[in-house]
């Protein structure tokens, strides 16, 4: 497991039904591309987060297949339509099998 993986998400506390809100997510991760070499000239093996999924109240928002060209500490910004109160789940899948999850609720009224 990569060290110090810390997911961070920015979700507004509340919204009105039908609002389209912007979410920002960041997760600290080296996203080792498999292209770099260490001091001895050996290639450092690839170790990235390869998938990122966001769901809201049981419905999918986005599902991103990630490749090594995504920068260190992957950042995503996207929009969600909220019709009802609910919980966001953010899930990152690591090459090494680790799964990082973050949840956040929003008040919709």
């Amino acid at each position: 497991m990569a060290k110090d993986v810390k997911p961070r998400v920015k979700v507004p506390k509340s919204a009105k039904p039908g609002d389209i809100i912007t979410l920002k997510t960041l997760i600290s991760h080296p996203m080792e591309s498999g292209q770099r070499k260490d001091a001895e000239g050996k290639i450092i093996p690839r170790e990235i987060i390869n998938r990122f999924v966001v769901d809201f109240a049981g419905q999918n928002v986005i599902d991103v297949q990630m490749e090594p060209a995504i920068s260190t500490n992957p950042y995503f910004e996207f929009e969600v339509k909220v019709d009802q109160p609910g919980e966001f789940t953010f899930t990152w899948y690591d090459d090494d099998g680790s799964v990082y999850e973050e949840k956040q609720s929003i008040d919709v009224s």
């Binding site: 093996p45 999918n60 928002v61 991103v64 490749e67 996207f78």
Partner: protein, 152 residues
Amino acid sequence: MKLNRRHALILGAGGMAGLAFAGPVLAQAAAPAAPAADAGKTVEQWIADFTGGAEVAEGGVKLNAPEIAENGNTVPISVSAEGAAEILVLATGNPTPGVAIVKFGPAAGSRQLATRIRLATTQDVVAIAKMEDGSFKQAKSNVKVTIGGCGG
């Protein structure tokens, strides 16, 4: 013409060419999961896999990328395409051209995604959208990179 230019770009990056060949092999050994299969894919293979050989029309996709990126390690881009079900982003001049494929679900508020990507050298970034009606549209943007993000 297209092919020649791409090869020239890769070669132009000097030592990068060697890395491009050595990289995918090791990546596969280290990560037996499915994503590793994408490591050796060329731009043409990415497009063929995504579109299934269907024709790709110009326009209808917005790709925002800087004209000049001082640091290729983190280049902010955003893609959007009204009515898209999926969007594929490729960095045509990278040793592994795949960047991301985003699928939009029923709760998506728009067909838009912003992120930060690595660009190894000056190159074209391409976004191809698969529309809900099954057609394909694309946009292209050239980014000049001052310091490459290959990390070599």
